[in-house]
C-alpha cells in the first residue's frame, strides 16, 4: 500500500478496499519505525491525523466529493499549522505553536488531506543539503551517508522512503527541485504568485514559492490543483484562473519545442548526469518533441545575484525574531540590546547568521547601489534571457543539479561550494518562472533529476511533459531497497 501514488490511493479509498484510517495508520507506523535513520520529520501529528482520517472516512460514506479525501500528506515545517509546532527548522521557533493555518494548509485540508506531520528542513529554508536544520541533517533514503538535498530535504526523504505519499515544500532557489532530484521524486515549483505565501514563513519574499513533492507528475497535478489560486491574504498571489491540470496531462507532445541552454552543460556537470539528460531528450523526441539549442547568457550571474537579493530580503524578514512576542528568548537579558543580540545570536544557526549579515551589508549605506540595485538590474537581464528563449521554444530542459547527492558534511565547511549546487535552479526563482524536476536516471545508486522550465503559468505544460515522460520511463517507480517493504 505504501508504495502507491495518490492517484492509486484515491481509487483504493473510493472502492473501499482500505479506509483512510487504516492508510493513515500504515504511514504513521512506517514513520515510527523507519524515520530514525532518516530524521525526515520534526513533528508527527498522530492524534490530529487519526481523528482527521476518521472524519474523512465518515465523509466518504456521505459521498463527500473533496478531491483528495482521506489522503495522508506531510507539510514542510515552514508552513504554519494551527495548534501544531511550526519550527522552520530553527531553535528560534522550537517553542512556536502557530495560532493559525497557512492558506495552503487550509486549502489542502479542505481538499480532504490528512496531515501526518511536519517535515525537517534547512533552518529558515537556507541551505541545499538539510544540514543547517536545528534538528539535525536529513539522510537520503537511497544512501543514509548522503544528503537528501535541501531545503525541503525532509519532505523529499519522507516521500522517497514511502513514509508519506506526498509532501509540500518551498522553493526559493531550488529547494523543491533539488531534493526531489536527489531523492528520485517529481517536484514542482510553480510560477511566483500561483500559490499563496500566506502562512509560509518567509525567507526571501520575492523568490519564495510553495509546491508539491510526489512520486509522479500526476500526483503533483492533483496537489497543485488544491494549492493554487489567488488569496486575499497575499496581495502578491495572482488572480489568473487555475486550469484543470489533470485534463492537460495526456496532451500530445507532437511538435513540442524544447530548448537546450548551452550554459547548463558546461564545466562542473557530472558526465553521467549529462548522459541522463541526453537520454531523456531521446525519449521526448520519440514522442514528437523537437530540440533546439538556446542561450541563457547571464546564467553565470544567477548565483551571485541571488546571494545579494535573497540575503537582503531575509535580513529584513528575520528581524521579527527578537525574543519579544514569540519564539526563543535568551536567559536573563541585561538590557534591551542584550535581549535582541543574544536571543538572535543563540536562536539562529550559523548559515542564517551569515545570510543576515550579508543581507545587512548589501542594504547598508554606501553599498546599496553597488550590490542591491545592481543585483536587481542583473535580475532583469536574467529574466530577459528567459523571455527571449520562450519566444523560440515552449519549454527549457536541462539537469536539475550538476551531480547526484553528496556526502553529509562534504560541503558544510565552504558555504560558497554549497551555494553552487543550485546553479541550474536558482535563475528560475529570480525570473519567477515555473519549473519541475523529474527522475531521469541514476548515477550508481543515486537518482538524478531532469529539470523542465516553463513560461509563466505553464505549470500544466510541465506536468503534461513529465507525465508523458513517465508513461515511457520507470525511473519514478524506483524505490530505495531499505524502504520498499
Amino acid at each position: 500500500m505504501h508504495t502507491k501514488t495518490i492517484a492509486e490511493l484515491l481509487k483504493i479509498l473510493d472502492k473501499g478496499e482500505c479506509s483512510s484510517e487504516e492508510l493513515t495508520k500504515i504511514y504513521l507506523a512506517r514513520i515510527q519505525k523507519l524515520d530514525k535513520t532518516l530524521n525526515s520529520f520534526i513533528t508527527i501529528t498522530e492524534e490530529f491525523a487519526l481523528s482527521a482520517a476518521r472524519i474523512a472516512d465518515e465523509k466518504r460514506r456521505k459521498e463527500d466529493k473533496a478531491p483528495l479525501l482521506g489522503v495522508p500528506i506531510a507539510h514542510k515545517d515552514i508552513f504554519c499549522t494551527q495548534g501544531i509546532k511550526t519550527s522552520c527548522g530553527s531553535k528560534m521557533l522550537d517553542n512556536f505553536i502557530s495560532p493559525y493555518d497557512a492558506t495552503i494548509v487550509t486549502k489542502l485540508k479542505e481538499a480532504g488531506t490528512i496531515l501526518l506531520g511536519k517535515t525537517n528542513m534547512d533552518e529558515f529554508a537556507m541551505g541545499s543539503s538539510n544540514e543547517t536544520s536545528f534538528y539535525g541533517p536529513v539522510h537520503n533514503p537511497w544512501d543514509p551517508a548522503l544528503v537528501a538535498g535541501g531545503s525541503s530535504g525532509g519532505s523529499a526523504a519522507a516521500v522517497a522512503a514511502n513514509l508519506t505519499p506526498a509532501a509540500t515544500g518551498t522553493d526559493t532557489g531550488g529547494s523543491i527541485r533539488q531534493p526531489a532530484a536527489l531523492c528520485g521524486l517529481t517536484g514542482l515549483k510553480p510560477t511566483y504568485g500561483r500559490v499563496s505565501r500566506y502562512g509560509m514563513i518567509a525567507f526571501a519574499s520575492s523568490l519564495d514559492q510553495a509546491g508539491p513533492l510526489a512520486k509522479t507528475a500526476e500526483d503533483c497535478a492533483l496537489l497543485l490543483q488544491a494549492m493554487a489560486g489567488v488569496d486575499i491574504k497575499d496581495s502578491t498571489s495572482i488572480d489568473n484562473p487555475v486550469p484543470n491540470y489533470n485534463t492537460m496531462l495526456n496532451n500530445s507532445l507532437e511538435g513540442l519545442k524544447i530548448g537546450l541552454p548551452k550554459e547548463f552543460f558546461g564545466e562542473g556537470l557530472h558526465p553521467e548526469v549529462e548522459m541522463a539528460v541526453q537520454n531523456a531528450l531521446k525519449t521526448l523526441e520519440k514522442m514528437g518533441a523537437k530540440v533546439f539549442d538556446i542561450e541563457l547568457p547571464n546564467t553565470k550571474l544567477a548565483i551571485p545575484t541571488y546571494y545579494v537579493i535573497a540575503p537582503a530580503e531575509c535580513s529584513s524578514n528575520l528581524s521579527r525574531y527578537d525574543g519579544v512576542r514569540f519564539g526563543y528568548r535568551c536567559d536573563n537579558p541585561q538590557n534591551l540590546e542584550d535581549l535582541y543580540k543574544r536571543s538572535r545570536g543563540e536562536g539562529f544557526g550559523p548559515e542564517v547568521k551569515r545570510r543576515i549579515l550579508i543581507g545587512t551589508y548589501v542594504l547598508s549605506a554606501g553599498y546599496f547601489d553597488a550590490y542591491y540595485v545592481q543585483a536587481q538590474k542583473v535580475r532583469k537581464l536574467i529574466t530577459t534571457d528567459f523571455i527571449n528563449a520562450f519566444s523560440k521554444v515552449d519549454v527549457i530542459l536541462g539537469p536539475t543539479t550538476p551531480s547526484p547527492a553528496f556526502n553529509i558534511g562534504e560541503k558544510t565547511k565552504d558555504p560558497v561550494s554549497m551555494y553552487l549546487c543550485d546553479i541550474y535552479t536558482i535563475s528560475v526563482n529570480l525570473a519567477g518562472l515555473p519549473a519541475l524536476s523529474m527522475p531521469g536516471g541514476f548515477v550508481q545508486q543515486c537518482p538524478i533529476g531532469i529539470q523542465l522550465i516553463g513560461n509563466y503559468f505553464e505549470e500544466g505544460k510541465l506536468l503534461n511533459i513529465a507525465h508523458q515522460f513517465q508513461q515511457l520511463t520507470d525511473w519514478h517507480q524506483k524505490t530505495p531497497l531499505t524502504f520498499k517493504e
Binding site: 512556536f96 502557530s98 500566506y198 496581495s235 535580513s315 521579527r320 547598508s364
Partner: protein
Amino acid sequence: MNTSWETVIGLEVHVQLITKSKLFSGAATAFGAEPNSQACAIDLGLPGVLPVLNETALKMAIKFGLSIGASIAPKSVFARKNYFYPDLPKGYQISQYEFPIVSGGSLSFTLEDNTTKQIRITRAHLEEDAGKSLHEDFHGFSGIDLNRAGIPLLEIVSEPELRSAKEAVAYLKTLHALIRYLEISDGNMQEGSFRCDANVSVRPSHQTKLGTRAEIKNVNSFRFVERAINYEIERQIDILENGGTVIQETRLYDANKDETRSLRAKEQANDYRYFPDPDLLPIIVSADLIKEIRKTLPELPREKSERFERDYGLSAYDANVLTATKELADFFEQTVQASYQSEPKLCANWVMVDLLGALNKTNLDITESPISPERLGGLIRRIHDKTISGKIAKTIFEKLLCEKEDVDTIIEKQGLKQVTDTTAIEALIDEVIAKNPHQVADYKSGKDKLFGFFVGQVMKASQGKANPEQVNEILKHKLGP
C-alpha cells in the same frame, strides 16, 4: 558683533487617518482599547503573515494630495525602513521612501497681520504607525502595547520655508483644518492623531546656505510647537553667538521645563537600509481613480473663506476666523440661514464675538454649543425685524446659554418685546422731559452732549425695550434745535 539671524523651519507632520481597519491588516483602530486587544497576528508580525493595503487609506492620501494641488504618483512603492525597537514588531516599518504617493503642492495661510504666505509641500507618504512602550515599572521591564501598530499615517513634509515659530503654528493650524475638512483624520492632538516634528536651524540673514538643524520630536499642541521652536531658536543663536557649533541631533521638548533637550545618544548612526518591500507590489493609480476622488473633494478652507467674503460681505479676517474649522463654518452658515439671510455680518459678529467668547469661558467646542444655529439665527432675526434691541438681545443670549427655550418664547414670557409704538415712546419722553427741567434748559443753551443723557433716561424708563432709533428721532423733535 551684531549679526541678525534668520530662522529656517521645516515641518514633518504625522496624521493618523480615520480608517476603520489598519493600513495592512483587518484589525480595528479605535482609540483607548484594552492593551493589545486590537493587535492581530499581522500587526504582531507573526511568522508567515503578509500585509495587504487598505484601499481607503490610499484614497485618503490621494484626496489630501489633490487638495494641495500636488501630483499623485501614477506608480508609488512601499519600502521597508529597518531598525530595532520594541514598539516596532517586524523590525521594520512599512513606509514610502523613493517613490511617495504625493509630491509637490503647497499650502497657503494668513498671518495675524493679514498677509498671506505660501509654503511648498515636499511630499506626503503613507506609512504604518508603531506601538507604544509603557514605562510604568514592571520590575525593570517596560510593557509594550501594539494596538497602535499598523494604524495608517500620512506623513506630510514641508519645504524649509517657514521663518518663525508663528508661521509654523499658522501653517500647522491651516494643515490641521484641512485634514479635518477632508475628513481623513480627526486631528485629535491629545490622542496623537496629529503629531509634529520640527526641523529648526538658524543662519546669518544674508547667508543662503542652511545652518545645521536640530529635529524637535513629537510636539503635540500648537502652543508647545511655538514655545519649543522659540526655545530652540534662542538656544541655537546663543551657541552661534558664543562661537559654538550646532550639532545635528534629535531633541525632545519638555513642556514642564519649557526647554528642548538632546534625545539621541542611543544610536550613533542610523542606517535604515530602506529597500522596496517585496511583499507589496507597486501601487498604480489610474487617471480614473484620481477623477473619482477629485469629485469627493469638499469646499476647502481657502475657497470657503473667499466665498464668505464674496457672498456675505465679510472682511478677510472674519472670513478666515469663521472657516478655521469646518464645524464653525457650518455653524455660521446655518445661523445665517436661520436668521433668514437678514444680516450675515451681524451673524458673523454674534458667532465670533458672543458665542465663541462664551464657549471659550466654558471650554466648549463649537460642536458642543448650548445654543444651536437655529436659536442664534432666531435671535438675530428678532434684532433685524426690530422686535428687540441689540441690548436686549445680549440679555436673551445669556438666557439662551442656560435655558432650552427658543427666542420668541423668552421675549414673550419676559415681555422683552421692543416698544415701537410712537405714542408710548412719546409718553415716556414727555415724562423724562418733565422730570428733568434743568437738563432741558442746559441742553437748550447749547450743551449738546446732554442728548445722550436723555436717551439713556428714556431707555431706562422703558426697561431697555424702547426702539433706540425711534427714541432718538422723537427726542430730537421734542427737544427742538
